[in-house]
């Protein structure tokens, strides 16, 4: 396995920056045939940027690439796919309203045309073959893709990529969106591909997964390649240290051991939602950071939405202990001092076309009053300016549109919104998703400061190190149930938590 194989793709001295933030800083990578190369690094380390440039989704700022020996600069994803580079990403890539077969052959219908007419049967049959090739039997290609859940739709994407027999397969953090069965299927595909002389790039921030499947691993941090290891020299601790670049403990996460008061502030009393939660109960204490973990489809996101009244609670009730207030909807939650930071930031937590000020002020309509119903511009100005300053949001001025800002800055605006609102109970759903390392550190200090001010926080996260570093108490969920409860004072063991998840 470790014999030298011929280089398929070579990346030479590549740089990429988005406005102010530098995503890639003079990176060189060799991707060889028959070898599974693991790219590991924290969010914002640039690993996804490299792969998306190779797959033609975005152009590099400088540097060059060679593919099969001659220069390679794909303008579009389609050009790269036709050139033999298949990429599987995390976000949903299928269109619900059209059939599975049409999704697989989206954009290239030529092979099924007899004269001008597209032969639907032929397309469905070919789609059947594509699905069988990756070992998926229970998806009917003639039905609309919308009927299937997220996991199966991801399998459809995989079938689409594999159908074109790609020379290079790039898997970019896809495993979190897959069920266990889907994951095993993907691993089998990668290894078969490597045997057949294809090259594989496996991108993840889950160290165990990469150590198990990769032949070689490269660590990336802040857009720079730190080190590369062949399979024999895999050492988890060393890689982790190189990944994060600073002591795991220490000021990155919390260092304190101060607990939380026993007073319960929020209680979910045997709540049932439409899809995943069934008679689910939990409690949140004052000044507690309650971490909730699990694989993405375990129902923790629905729990977050249910607590804030965004999800239809069919049975049981969510109660605010302050005055036994039952949360009936987002308005009742908001009016009673709760706050919610959604997972998909751009579509749910921010209005992209509005200015930074307008977004922050959106929580202050009731507070910033001159008298009666009239809003005082001065109060509003300081309401927003205070947050822009304390959170050090990089912007030309407060009136700049949020659309033009980087991921980290946008998240700061969202946090600014809720801090300005001085909400007592905060529900954070993947608060540091897609945020670069620098901003992430300030986020953690912010969360800790809020805890000290006696606020209670529910932090839902898919990143294990974050949960371990920040939570006073962790609930691991699996298929809508609490599968394990761990306390900070007893010290967290990562492998224990992972067992409860899977």
């Amino acid at each position: 396995m470790s014999t030298e194989h011929e280089i398929l793709v070579q990346v030479k001295d590549m740089c990429k920056n988005f406005g102010v933030t530098i995503a890639l800083n003079h990176v060189d990578i060799d991707i060889r045939r028959g070898q599974i190369l693991g790219l590991i690094g924290e969010n914002g380390s640039g690993k996804s940027t490299v792969s998306s440039i190779i797959a033609g989704i975005q152009p590099p700022t400088s540097g060059s690439m060679t593919y099969k020996g001659h220069p390679w600069s794909p303008a579009t994803a389609l050009e790269a796919a036709r050139g033999g580079i298949g990429m599987i990403v995390q976000e949903a890539g299928t269109i619900g309203s059209i059939s599975v077969a049409e999704n697989i052959f989206l954009g290239n219908y030529e092979p099924f045309k007899t004269g001008p007419i597209i032969n639907k049967k032929k397309m469905v049959a070919e789609a059947r073959k594509a699905l069988d090739k990756i070992g998926v039997e229970d998806i009917d290609p003639s039905l609309p893709a919308g009927l299937y859940d997220m996991q199966d739709r991801k399998l459809i994407e995989i079938a689409k990529v594999m159908y074109h027999e790609p020379e290079l397969i790039i898997v970019d953090e896809t495993t979190t969106a897959l069920s266990q069965k889907g994951r095993d299927l993907l691993y089998k595909l990668i290894h078969d591909g490597a045997q057949k002389g294809k090259a594989v790039v496996f991108i993840s921030h889950d160290l165990e997964e990469l150590m198990e499947h990769c032949d070689k691993m490269t660590v990336l941090r802040d857009g720079v390649i730190i080190d590369s290891f062949p399979r024999e020299q895999f050492d988890p601790e060393d890689i982790k240290r190189k990944m994060v670049g600073r002591e795991i403990s220490g000021q990155y996460y919390r260092v304190d051991e101060d607990g939380y008061s026993s007073q319960v502030v929020l209680k979910a009393d045997c709540i049932t939602t439409m899809s995943s939660l069934l008679c689910f109960s939990m409690e949140l204490h004052k000044g507690e950071i309650l971490g909730i973990g699990g694989i993405s489809s375990c129902g923790m996101h629905e729990l977050g939405r249910a607590l804030y009244g965004l999800e239809d609670v069919v049975d049981g009730k969510v109660v605010l202990m302050k005055d036994e207030k039952v949360i009936t909807g987002a308005k009742s939650a908001f009016d009673n001092g709760m706050g919610y930071v959604s997972k998909n930031r751009d579509t749910e937590s921010l209005e992209l076309n509005a200015s930074i000020e307008a977004n922050i002020q959106s929580t202050g309509y009731k507070k910033n009053r001159l008298f009666g119903p009239f809003i005082s511009p001065a109060k509003e100005k300081s309401y927003a300016a205070r947050q822009i300053e304390t959170l050090a949001i990089k912007c030309i001025n407060g009136r700049q549109k949020v659309k033009a800002m980087s991921g980290g800055n946008k998240q700061k605006v969202v946090f600014g919104k809720w801090i300005a609102d001085d909400a007592d109970i905060l529900i954070l759903d993947c608060p540091t998703r897609g945020v670069d390392v620098g901003v992430k550190a300030s986020m953690y200090q912010l969360i800790y400061k809020m805890k000290q001010q006696g606020k209670s926080i529910v932090m839902i996260s898919e990143e294990m190190p974050e949960l371990i570093g920040m939570s006073d108490r962790i609930l691991i969920m699996k298929d809508g149930r609490i599968n394990g409860e761990f306390f900070r004072k007893d010290g967290y063991q990562q492998h224990e938590l992972i067992e409860c998840m899977i």
């Binding site: 269109i95 309203s97 989206l106 001008p116 597209i118 998806i139 009917d140 199966d152 439409m274 008679c279």
Partner: protein, 360 residues
Amino acid sequence: MDGKPRRISCSRDGMTMKQNLTAHKVKSILKMLSLPIMVFLIMNTIDLIATGQGVISSGTDVRALFRNILTTFSFALALNCNLRVGRMDLSLGSQMYLACIFGGNLALQMGLGGVGVLIFSMVLGLLCGLLVGSLYVQLRILPMIFGIGMSLIFECLSFGAYNQQGLMLYGKPGISILSEIWFVVAVIVIMIAVMTFMFQYSTFGYKGRAVQGGQRLASDAGVNIYTNCIISYTLAGTLAACAGVFNTAFMGTLVPTLDMGSNGMFFGSMFPMFVGTWLGAFVGNPVMGVLCGTISVRLLGLGLAKLSMEGMVQNIIIFSLFLLFMILRDNMSKWSYRKKRRARMALAKQTRLEMGLAEA
């Protein structure tokens, strides 16, 4: 729909998969045809009671009905080209006027008969659609607003031309073919064939559905959403012109209007189009759906006309039914959701009992 949907697997009582599929197909076709048949029966009984005559009481009724069906069917399909992707192009009415007046008069001057007028108008309609489509792709103003602007201009052009006569088909040689039943039916059949091909079997149709599902995803996969949009506009212009010619043949003359008067046809065809796309969803063929929707609405119109009801009252009835239909269509999902919610609540109560026992 918990878990994966049951594929139509070969099911119980020995029916083979093939039979099961055809049964499903027939059932859905019947569902689609149910509305026109139901409307016909209702209107027929009402007319019989009120006036002693059925909805269709004479030969000329049949001809008038078919002509109306063709006009509305063609215009509703034109609307569908853009409305299915959310583009409400208000200039379609004025495109029809421009195409018919210029195309029709051109054909008449060259001494061509009815078919000549039809073909020339459709060619002009195609060009109008192409112009509006490419301008839209360049300017990217919201289609409704862009439509208003363009219709102001097109109406001005069609009013100024041919010294405000518009298109006079009454009494012109060779025009009577446009009123012949066989010709009207032939055009309907051709239109069904061509449009079914365009929507169901051509790359344009496939790409159109992909764009309808998600513009971003489709363009990433290499679908050129701009050409697809221009083709939609061009198709819409052609179909609108066809509708205009047959409407003028029936009305005798197409008098140009100003001040957004050209939108009468537009609002009138929205009802058949929305009902049609809803019916079409049963069989997955929007073209047949729009045909059934058109037949239903036109039968309703004819039935009401037979009751010699005042024009205004007919309008009120038809448009109230349109609103009622839209409310039903948009709230159908709420009822099935409520049903599922009740089932879920029962399950919750039941598990609460089990857990209750455990927790005391």
